[in-house]
Point group: C2
Chain length 269, copies 2
Amino acid sequence: MKTENAMAATASLRALEPVQGPAIPLGNAARKNIAKVPTKCSSCNLRELCLPCGLTGLDMDRVEELIYTRKRMERGENLYRAGDTFNSLYAVRSGFFKTVQTLEDGRDQVTGFHMAGEIMGMDGIGPEEHGNSAVALEDSEVCVIPYSRLESLGRDMHLLHRQFHKVMSREIVQEQSVMLLLGTMRAEERLAAFLLNLSQRFTARGYSASEFNLRMTREEIGSYLGLKLETVSRAFSKFQEDGVISVHQKHICILDVGGLKRCMTRKGN
Amino acid sequence: MKTENAMAATASLRALEPVQGPAIPLGNAARKNIAKVPTKCSSCNLRELCLPCGLTGLDMDRVEELIYTRKRMERGENLYRAGDTFNSLYAVRSGFFKTVQTLEDGRDQVTGFHMAGEIMGMDGIGPEEHGNSAVALEDSEVCVIPYSRLESLGRDMHLLHRQFHKVMSREIVQEQSVMLLLGTMRAEERLAAFLLNLSQRFTARGYSASEFNLRMTREEIGSYLGLKLETVSRAFSKFQEDGVISVHQKHICILDVGGLKRCMTRKGN
DNA sequence: CGGGGATTTGACACATATCAAGAGCGGTGG
DNA sequence: CCACCGCTCTTGATATGTGTCAAATCCCCG
């Protein structure tokens, strides 16, 4: 089983390299932005994770019509910003994103981290403008899904509509579980839950469940978990002392999954 | 402008009495549960708030096919429970609900309060079972929307589908704002934000923005806001001392909206 | 009128924030 | 290649907000 470890060696390698084929030199401003789609949904190895999941034969062929542009993003670039008018959803094809929401008084919070196969931008459908900003945490690529096209294609592909509803519903469920985390868990419990969630998502993508590189800073983790970066750092150190994980900068090994799961549960209960 | 105050006098009166027509004696176990629909969407005074919002003429007529049962609920009854298989969405027709999510170790949290015109149960679409439980906080009534029917009706009523997407999207946005609240706000800020949110939703339903009765206990408010009930109580007292609201048990008057809004913002910033 | 739950308030404990200093690491330029 | 700079991270000391525990009051309901 391939570990994220291996690819951490060369920072220029893409997080989801197998999706990419041979590494493509990036940072080439000339042809970076919009590009014709070289890969179809039906041959994309994220299809079982992404929007087309569950579609078969004919439907899978037709779903290609959904995506006619991809977009390269450099680390730090904004995919969209709060207030931008809503036009499209975005599927992460490679790389890693965060979404950030800002309060009137300037306080902000990371509301999510998004990896390959996940859909971003659904917050914009209702208000017709985005309520948060999406930022690439590493060089990334997204498939652009024009919402109007999703609507019209869904008209005769009922499964696509149904699939889309499931994706939105799962987003609701995911957010509810973050609310639960923020409302009821203590610092170490939050971090344990966060690491287990990441681990499980990496597993679903064929990466090691126990070894991976964080794409975000302690501050971003803290923002997402409603903690200060110092508290996140202390919790990492505590887990390491207890021997449930090992931490070297952004590189994490989960040494004792059971132990980490126990960290997620209230002590003395 | 009618205030909620008036109807608070008689506890047996329904929260959204005008929706109900003349008060109907409840607690009649014999004919309580399922009932034929006596009122159509097109003549329901919640139509501008509820799922059919934005539909016109013909579409509005056809949308009646969506709902063929309503359900009466007594205070304390469960509309659905976590783990129930998902079949339907529910639109609150009258009354008031909370949704509660539970962690494996028994800790739980109120993830939402739901009033007339709001849709519950969308968390169940993806997993095909409900992830939380919905409980009536007072005698209530819901319209049952079978999901399969919503899907099939949406096939030739594109606006219905689009409207449904908006409703789901708004749920996502709403939850993100709760995440922001839980992650970044302090106790008094949370309570102020909560009261202003309630006020605004009552306003949208034609009730007083400044005077209303809470349907939930301090403990339920605390659970929703990630606080203990004592903290909620102290924050209420503080607001009252400061003269921004007056509190008598569950009865709330907002005396100074601007002041309350300032309470929502970080002090000395 | 009595009883039980909800609410308020106080005293104190504790988890996390805040402030501060220093170490580690990566990138850049000489 | 090395030195430097800036950013991230770690760790300690202390402050503070909220939780916890406890007691008294209020209020609804039978």
